[in-house]
Point group: C2
Chain length 188, copies 2
């Protein structure tokens, strides 16, 4: 249902407060207007674009990565609270997809999630011991994958991290990572 | 126990017939002699070096990869019998390890195993739906990882592939991959 501009803008503001990760495309679809209209609405309301929004939301809690060098993280970390939660963004490039199908290769989504599971650990050393992962929908070149990691459980020498990766609002990848810290070392 | 040269060479030949994947290092350790001795033994017996041996063993059954482009396989495929078994070799380079620990990053081992699980499928299209993986020992720069994939089960639209990766005789990675073929498409 189309709404009047004022009503739409109020609702837009409210929607983005609830879910700052919604893209312009998703908003256009939701409000049944063009992407251009959403952009104009955002400009009038002084709402920055998605990447900036995510950074704004996250900025208060961007801890320093401890378990690996920041440039070893696959994707861009925009939110990090050690031993609690982390978010990273990965824009799928044309060289990361199968030439034949144009579908993103699984190991890039895995690399984003796995390196986020390492980054979230509040320890100088963290290595992956085990993972159970699921690819739930294809990702194409040009799509933006937002991975959200959450620490589920901290045990004596290990941490269980859950990662869900989204394109728009859809889950494209999910995984549970069993991470070893400090003395117990496996591949990370 | 040290053996006489003749005895050792006879046993060396026998050992390599049973396990052509044994490295010179492992053989030297096994026979309690230097690597140089093993190399001389091999030369006298006209036994080629590991990589060539693997290729020799495999050559009879090197099917063409169907589900992806050959250059999209991570590692070098040396044995492939579609829908049955496959072997690939990956030499870990210094840029594939964590700078801090020198330990190979998990996603490279995952990429080798996952792309082998795609390559083994006898179909134009194969994508990974789910995987359960385990990193059982660290891999360092310069080590050679040999991944062996076996098709465990073929169902209507999916294939279950088991992969075990070794350095020397030791398992460093193992995984079970649930692959979709043709019409059912997930990320691969």
């Amino acid at each position: 249902m189309r709404r009047k501009k004022k009503e739409r803008q109020a609702l837009l503001q409210e929607t983005l407060e609830k879910d700052p990760f919604m893209t312009d495309e998703a908003l256009a679809h939701f409000f049944d207007v063009s992407i251009q209209t959403i952009r104009l609405d955002r400009m009038e309301l002084s709402i920055p674009e998605l990447r900036e929004r995510i950074k704004d939301v996250a900025k208060q809690q961007l801890d320093d990565v401890k378990a690996l060098s920041p440039d070893e993280v696959i994707g861009e970390i925009v939110d990090l609270q050690l031993d609690e939660r982390a978010i990273s963004i990965l824009d799928i490039q044309s060289e990361q997809v199968f030439t034949r199908s144009g579908i993103a290769r699984g190991h890039h989504l895995f690399a984003q999630a796995n390196s986020l599971a390492v980054a979230i650990i509040n320890d100088e050393m963290a290595l992956t011991a085990k993972a159970t992962i699921r690819f739930s929908r294809q990702v194409k070149s040009g799509e933006r994958v937002i991975a959200k990691a959450t620490v589920k459980r901290i045990e004596v020498e290990r941490t269980i991290v859950e990662v869900q990766s989204f394109v728009e609002q859809e889950v494209v990848f999910s995984g549970e990572f069993l991470m070893y810290r400090t003395k117990q070392m496996k591949n990370g």
